[in-house]
Structures are given as structure tokens and as C-alpha cells.
């Protein structure tokens, strides 16, 4: 966990530009972190699943442009007219069958994957930006600002997330982006901010912060140049947990029919339910692929999060 050098120090080693020194250090720290991460097969399994879904998502546009006729395989407006009755069971033509409206389930599944990633990433990004900023500011200034921000964090933390999302979803249009931002704000302001702040407190008392302050760095400079980089690891960790929670919440909201997302895993299950196939276990392909996808991708992010936890949190490391 290395700190950036103070302005004075850069003068003493003029041969290496600052950005390069930083890059090298980041790389080496990344390498050692990776080594630690790779030690843990659990994290690797999670990562493997995420990579699989990444490829899965990337394959969709390729398939749509090559072997799949958009009229039949479009995930939202497609319809296979050659099959007399929908939903049809898995076949060569439709490896995971078709849904009630005659759309290819595999295509829907692949198409939705990119949205799940986008949603998860966006929510995680929002969370970590908000949480890191709040945490750093709160720890740096202390006093009234800290008190206010932390009471606010407590308040947001107290908010029952799912019920609030259900009210929002029921009463207004919630699409992918709105959902990501709402989740990001609620996570970022709540629990994550509290955790990041406690980490920031330990960063704040490090000597380089003091040095920067003596060197006359502005508050803004110190917070964003010196404190925030040191909070990134823990932020990253919580990003992972945000991703899986965001995906899970999207699925649940869509399942209740409370989002306006045009296609997602949760919506696939919602359509199944709307047409009365939810308790029909003979048409398992309407329910299982999307449910398993939600479960496994969430689990994968959670596993990676746990493995990262062991990297970031030295007390969990192996003896």
C-alpha cells in the first residue's frame, strides 16, 4: 500500500517522470495483489464465470450479424413464424426454446447479459464515487461535516431498500440507468460510505497526508490526490458487492413488473409469469435459464468480492 510521493520528493529523482513512477508502482502492486488473488480458487471460479458471461454478451451481436436472422432472433421483437406453437421446447433451431411471444430464449438471455453488466458496473461506479468522496471528506474534515454526513449515511443505511425501490418502481418509470443511479446513491450514501470513512480515518493519520498538508496542498488536492487513491482498494471491493446486489434488485423489480426495461433476465421471468407459465414446470426453459443466469452471475461477483476481501483485508489471509 504505497503512497504517492510528495512534491519535494519528485525533484530529487528527475530521471523518472512522476506518472511513470506511479504507473510502475501501481503495476507492481497489481501484480502482487493478483498473485494473492490467484492463490484463492474461489475467486478464480468467480472470475471465470464473469469472463464467461462477458463473452456470452459479446457473442450476441456477432451471432445476430451472422447466423441469426434478426426477424426471428431479435430478443425483443423477434418471432419465429415457422414454429406453430410458442413457447416451443429447446431444439436445434432454438437451443433454449422460444418464449410465449415466439422469441428465442437464448438470444434474450445473451442480449440481456450486456445490460446486466452495464447496470452492475454503473451502479458500482456510482456507489464507489459517492462513497469514496463522502468517506474521504467526512474523515478529512471531521467535526460538524463528519457528523452531518455520517448521520445522513446512517439514515440512508436505515432505508429498507427493496420496499423503497418498489414504491419508486410502482409510481414512476424506472429504466436501467435510473435504477443504477438510485442504487448507486443508496449504497454509496449508506453502508459503503460508513466503511470507507473508517478506512479513510486510518489513511488520514498517515505521514504523507501530514507532509502534503505542510507542503501547502489544498484540501481538495489532498483529498482527491492523496486520500482517495488509498481508498480505492476498499472501494473496489465494495463495487463487487454492489454489482451483485444491483443485478439481484433489478431482477426482483422486473419480476414484479415494476421497471420499464425492454429486456432483462428479470423481465423474462416476468413475461413467463404474466402468461401463466410460472408454475408450469414442463416449460422449464422459460424459467430456468434466466433464474440460473441471475443466480450464477450474482454468485460470481460475490465470490470475486470475497476473494478480493482476502487480498484487501490482511487479517483474512492464509497463515
Amino acid at each position: 500500500m504505497t503512497a504517492t510521493t510528495t512534491p519535494d520528493a519528485t525533484i530529487s529523482i528527475p530521471e523518472v517522470p512522476l506518472w511513470r513512477a506511479r504507473l510502475l508502482m501501481a503495476l507492481s502492486s497489481l501484480r502482487s495483489s493478483w498473485a494473492m488473488f490467484a492463490e484463492n480458487p474461489i475467486g478464480l471460479i468467480g472470475l471465470g464465470v464473469i469472463v464467461f458471461y462477458g463473452l456470452f454478451a459479446a457473442a450476441h451481436p456477432i451471432l445476430m450479424n451472422t447466423v441469426w436472422d434478426p426477424v426471428v432472433y431479435d430478443p425483443v421483437n423477434g418471432f419465429d413464424i415457422e414454429i406453430a406453437f410458442h413457447p416451443s421446447a429447446p431444439s436445434m433451431r432454438h437451443p433454449l426454446g422460444t418464449d410465449v411471444l415466439g422469441r428465442d430464449v437464448l438470444s434474450q438471455l445473451m442480449f440481456s447479459t450486456r445490460y446486466e453488466f452495464a447496470l452492475g458496473m454503473l451502479a458500482a461506479l456510482a456507489t464507489s464515487i459517492v462513497a469514496t468522496t463522502i468517506g474521504a471528506i467526512s474523515a478529512y474534515y471531521g467535526g460538524v461535516i463528519d457528523l452531518l454526513l455520517m448521520r445522513l449515511a446512517d439514515l440512508v443505511y436505515m432505508m429498507p431498500l427493496l420496499p423503497i425501490l418498489i414504491v419508486l418502481g410502482a409510481l414512476m418509470d424506472i429504466g436501467m440507468i435510473e435504477l443504477a443511479i438510485v442504487l448507486g446513491l443508496l449504497f454509496g450514501f449508506g453502508g459503503t460510505a460508513i466503511v470507507v470513512k473508517s478506512q479513510a480515518l486510518s489513511v488520514k493519520v498517515k505521514p504523507f497526508i501530514e507532509a502534503a498538508r505542510i507542503a501547502g496542498g489544498s484540501d481538495f488536492h489532498i483529498i482527491f490526490k492523496h486520500m482517495v487513491p488509498n481508498l480505492l482498494p476498499i472501494s473496489l471491493l465494495y463495487m463487487m458487492f454492489t454489482v451483485n446486489t444491483a443485478i439481484a434488485y433489478e431482477a426482483i423489480l422486473s419480476f414484479f413488473g415494476l421497471t420499464t426495461i425492454e429486456m432483462s433476465w428479470g423481465l423474462m421471468i416476468n413475461v413467463t409469469q404474466v402468461f401463466g407459465y410460472l408454475l408450469r414446470f414442463d416449460t422449464w426453459w422459460l424459467l430456468f435459464p434466466a433464474s440460473i443466469a441471475i443466480t450464477t452471475l450474482c454468485a460470481a461477483f460475490y465470490l470475486v468480492g470475497r476473494a478480493l476481501d482476502e487480498v484487501v483485508n490482511p487479517r483474512l489471509r492464509r497463515r
Binding site: R151, M158, L162, V167, S291, A299, R306, L316, R318
Partner: protein
């Protein structure tokens, strides 16, 4: 201690107020209101919408309404439901809350206990396939898509094996001549189960003071006696059959929730145990040559219980969130289902009422968690 409680109480009241304000304005900022929905029928005369809005107080500005609401709230009046006008919100909560609490308290207690025991064993065995498979299985259960999981349980246990009823909380046919309503039985069941649990708990505490060789026997007794008492009580009660009817409907949702929540507890326990095992006092205990089991159960587990305890306590108010899903899948007429139905029609008093109840439960849980900390961790004292 009293000063601490007093301060905490004040803090809680302020936080609750802020929470109410935040949720009230959040809900209020949404487009449309229930008057639009309720008058969406051409047979209802034209001026009805405005009249209804006035009657429900929706014609006043939001700030005024909010303060009126808060004023009434602190006088113990949660208002009347818009959708079920003029039914008081408190009645709705009173009817629904026991049903949700029964479900979630039982599921959480079982999963807490099982999860803690298995998590603690798991942390002790690091590496190897046991750790990996159990972690992956645990994580998968923890992140499983709950509606699907519930459906799978219904399919397996209710449809295929036909062991339990698929949904609802009672079979009407058994209740036609029942002299009391279901909530009466619910509350009695909760109280009797609580007393039995309390006896078992005290028994376990007392058994810890006994000689090690008597301990197991005493523990067994302290579990079997209250359980037998419970069975006997209901067996002889005139409502035994009714209680059994409810119980048979409870098993499947409890099983589902337990499996779902158990994984969470297990994972938290494991992490927390791992952290604790790094503490100096564990090294010391080991160095003293204490048996591994003693180190694990006496030294490590007690400290590691802290975050698990927090998790348990916090899961109680979160019950509502999970309740919305479980209650939908199992047709369980609890507070989660009531919330969902109220939310989609913008029945603000009911939504606010239920959110406030969750808020209060959350605050109380935080307080209990803090007090529990003091008992569990000798290093923490409140003054």
C-alpha cells in the same frame, strides 16, 4: 447506562423523524395520486375526483400534509388507508404484522443457529474441497434468485412430493366452525413458542455451569422439556387442530427462508471467525495448549459472534424486504404483500405506516445490537 439510553432514545426519535420526512417526500414526489386511480370509472360522477382528493387531504400542499401526518403519528394515529377507506392503517398493520413476524422470526432463528454452527466449523477447516464446495454452495444459496428458489421448493415439496400445502396460511375447510380468528391462534403460537424458547435458552445457560460430563444431558433436557411442554399444551388445547393447520402451512416457507438466510449467516460467521483467529488472544490460547475445540467454541466463537449477532438483529427489520418476495410466492397474507398492494396504487398512509414500522424496528434493532455487543464483547462498555 440510563444516560446512554436517554441519549440514544433522543437520537432515535430524530432519526425516525428524518426517515419519515425522507420517505414521505420521496413518495409524494411521484406523479399522480390515488384519487386518479380510484375515480377511473366513467360511472363515477365528474366532481368526484376533486371531492375525493379533498376528503383524503390530497388537495393540501405536501409540507402541510407531512406535518399533519407527523402530528397525528406522534398522537398514535397513522391515518386511514386510501384504498380501503376508511380503515385505519394501524388495523391493517395489526392484522398483518404477526403473520410476517411468525414466519421470519422462526426462519431467522433456525438459520442463525445452523449457520453459526456450520460457519464456525467451516472456518476451522481452511483449504481443501470442503471449504471450496461449501463456500460456493453457500454463496450460490446466498445470491440465489429468491422467487425462483421459492418456486423450486413449491415444485419439489408441494407439487411433486405433495408433502406440504403450496401456499396460503390455512385451509379454509378447517376453520369454518372455528370460534376464533387466525390472528388469535397466531399470537398464541408466538407467545407459547417464545416461552418454550426462553426456557430452552435459560436451560442452556444453566447447563454451561454444570460439570462437563453432565452438560450434554442437561442441554438435551433443556431442549426436550420445553418442546414437550409446547406439544402438550397445543395437544390439549381446543385449538390444537387449528394450530397444526397453520403450522403445516408454515413449514415450507420457513424451510425456504431458512435455507436462503442460513447461507448468509454461515458466510458471515466464517469470515468473522477467520478474522478472530488472527487475534493475539487466540494465539495465546493455542500456545497454552488448550484443545482446538475449546479454542474454537470458547475463545474464537464468542468474539466471532459479534458480526453474526449484528446480522441477525438487522435481518429482522429487513424481513419486510424479503417478505415481499416470499409472501408473494407463498401467498402469505403478511405485511410484505400488503405493502406491495398498497405501493402500486399509491396508498400513501399504508405505505408510510409500514415503512415507519420498519424504521422503528430498525432503530430498536440497532439499539438491541449495541446492547448485545456489550454483553458479547467484554471490551465494549457503555457509560
Amino acid at each position: 447506562m440510563w444516560r446512554f439510553l436517554g441519549q440514544r432514545f433522543l437520537q432515535m426519535v430524530i432519526t425516525l423523524f428524518l426517515f419519515q420526512a425522507a420517505t414521505y417526500f420521496l413518495i409524494d414526489a411521484q406523479p399522480g395520486d390515488i384519487a386518479d386511480l380510484l375515480t377511473l370509472d366513467p360511472n363515477i360522477p365528474p366532481n368526484e375526483r376533486e371531492r375525493l382528493r379533498a376528503e383524503l387531504g390530497l388537495d393540501r400542499p405536501p409540507v402541510e400534509r407531512f406535518f399533519k401526518y407527523i402530528g397525528n403519528f406522534y398522537r398514535g394515529d397513522l391515518g386511514v388507508s386510501f384504498q380501503e377507506y376508511p380503515k385505519p392503517v394501524i388495523d391493517i398493520i395489526e392484522e398483518r404484522l404477526p403473520r410476517t413476524l411468525v414466519l421470519f422470526l422462526s426462519a431467522n432463528l433456525v438459520s442463525f443457529w445452523v449457520g453459526f454452527v456450520s460457519g464456525k466449523i467451516l472456518a476451522w477447516r481452511r483449504g481443501g474441497w470442503i471449504e471450496y464446495t461449501s463456500t460456493i454452495a453457500g454463496v450460490t444459496l446466498y445470491t440465489v434468485f429468491l422467487p425462483w428458489f421459492g418456486l423450486m421448493m413449491i415444485w419439489l415439496f408441494a407439487v411433486t412430493l405433495d408433502l406440504f400445502p403450496a401456499g396460503k396460511f390455512l385451509s379454509p375447510i378447517n376453520w369454518l366452525t372455528a370460534p376464533v380468528n387466525a390472528n388469535y391462534i397466531f399470537i398464541r403460537m408466538t407467545i407459547s413458542a417464545f416461552i418454550a424458547l426462553l426456557i430452552a435458552f435459560i436451560g442452556t445457560l444453566l447447563s454451561n455451569r454444570l460439570e462437563p460430563r453432565h452438560r450434554l444431558g442437561a442441554r438435551l433436557v433443556s431442549f426436550i422439556v420445553p418442546l414437550a411442554g409446547l406439544v402438550y399444551y397445543w395437544q390439549t388445547s381446543e385449538f390444537g387442530a387449528l394450530a397444526w393447520d397453520i403450522t403445516s402451512h408454515l413449514i415450507l416457507p420457513i424451510l425456504t427462508l431458512t435455507l436462503y438466510a442460513y447461507a448468509g449467516t454461515m458466510l458471515i460467521t466464517r469470515t468473522s471467525m477467520l478474522e478472530t483467529l488472527r487475534e493475539d488472544f487466540i494465539f495465546t490460547a493455542r500456545a497454552k495448549g488448550l484443545p482446538e475445540k475449546v479454542v474454537r467454541d470458547k475463545h474464537a466463537a464468542r468474539t466471532a459472534l459479534l458480526p453474526v449477532w449484528t446480522g441477525l438483529i438487522f435481518s429482522l427489520p429487513a424481513a419486510l424486504g424479503g417478505g415481499i418476495i416470499t409472501e408473494t410466492i407463498f401467498s402469505w397474507p403478511g405485511i410484505g404483500l400488503a405493502y406491495l398492494q398498497a405501493a402500486v396504487v399509491e396508498d400513501i398512509p399504508v405505505v408510510m405506516g409500514i415503512l415507519t414500522i420498519i424504521g422503528i424496528l430498525t432503530l430498536i434493532s440497532h439499539l438491541i445490537a449495541d446492547i448485545g455487543y456489550a454483553f458479547l464483547d467484554p471490551r465494549i462498555r457503555y457509560h
